[in-house]
Amino acid sequence: MTTKYYYGDFGESGSGEITANNKKNVGIHSDAAGHDWPLWEVFIRSKQGLDHKHMGSLHATDAQMAIENARDVYTRRMEGVSIWVVESKHIHASNPDEAESLYDPANDKAYRHPTFYDLPDELKHM
């Protein structure tokens, strides 16, 4: 055996010399792909005063079901007081290849940060 297997990574079938003696065909439809319910991203406000935070995703047929599923899946331990869901296909993301042009310019604008300003210690509440 030359392949290294890890926890949560048990290799693919067909490798190795032992074969299962109970393999049988299971009814996988040939047109199997594309039946998943739409994918939704879930955002949860964990308590009043905080922003909604991305928690993960799930499948649901519509917004209402997505909110309910989010309640069942992501707030089993009282993690939230408010839920947003948005269908994943509606999320537009910036291109990571452009990260340099988008974010690096902010690097040399130290004057945007409060610590840039050297003020006397006597000055309070600023």
Binding site: H59, V73, R76
Partner: protein
């Protein structure tokens, strides 16, 4: 007084436990992961309600009675759950319809019970009502979805109505201890819930484009007084097996 209060409380507990137990059979076998989790949540809520009622009944009973002696050491004839709750899960249509019928009833029941003269029952009802409100919403949506979904889902929910309808009448036919409970002010008059329940069923069925069965159809009864279907014995055989095989043990 106390005897009726105990019987009434155990009746509430039994129905919640048996339906919770049935729903828990779905855990790991649901039609889609999100709904596996949802039905399991409902199961946990119901078992939680049952425990609250049993603990109260045990306290009233005394003699070292506990929630577990009540759940695990009574035989089928002593169980007072409604027949509807013990019916097999069937397919998803049967399960969500059974939940819908029962949640719609529990919703009205707990709404009243939270004003019970018995502060314990009132408190448990108030807490449980929040859970049941969600169960009702969840199960209503599924009934609508299946009724107005595909032709297969429609046929399945029609079959489920056919199978379950005759078990709904019992919900509103009070047993003696319920009549006493109502008279003494700590229980809810189940008969008076029927109209609102029917209105709710009709509204949801209409949205689901489903026909409402005859409300005067012959109804099965007996669960509340210990005359059950054959299914309950098997539920208990499963549930009570360890407590029965190894009596007197801590677990």
């Amino acid at each position: 007084m106390k005897k009726d209060l105990i019987s009434y409380t155990i009746h509430l507990a039994d129905s919640a436990l048996i339906l919770g137990h049935r729903n828990s059979e779905w855990c790991g076998h649901g039609p889609v992961l999100e709904q596996d989790i949802a039905i399991t949540n409902i199961s946990l809520d119901l078992i939680g309600q049952a425990r609250n009622f049993y603990q109260y009944a045990a306290q009233l009973t005394g003699n070292n009675t506990t929630e577990d002696t009540l759940a695990y050491l009574r035989d089928a004839r002593e169980f007072k759950n409604c027949l509807l709750t013990e019916l097999p899960n069937g397919d998803w249509a049967v399960t969500v319809l059974r939940q819908f019928f029962f949640s719609a009833y529990q919703y009205l029941l707990y709404q009243q019970l939270q004003h019970s003269s018995d502060t314990q029952l009132a408190a448990i009802a108030e807490k449980s009502l929040k859970e049941v409100t969600y169960h009702l919403r969840w199960s209503s949506e599924w009934v609508i979805r299946l009724g107005d979904g595909t032709s297969e889902s429609r046929q399945r929910i029609l079959n489920a109505i056919e199978d379950l309808w005759m078990f709904t009448g019992e919900l509103f036919k009070p047993a003696d201890y319920e009549i006493e409970a109502t008279a003494k002010g700590f229980g809810v008059n189940a008969e008076l819930l029927k109209n609102d329940w029917l209105q709710n069923i009709k509204a949801i069925f209409e949205e689901a484009t489903l026909p409402v069965p005859d409300e005067n159809a012959w109804m099965q009864t007996g669960g509340k007084t210990g005359s059950h279907t054959e299914h309950l014995g098997f539920i208990l055989a499963d549930m009570q097996f360890l407590q029965r095989t190894y009596p007197g043990c801590e677990w």
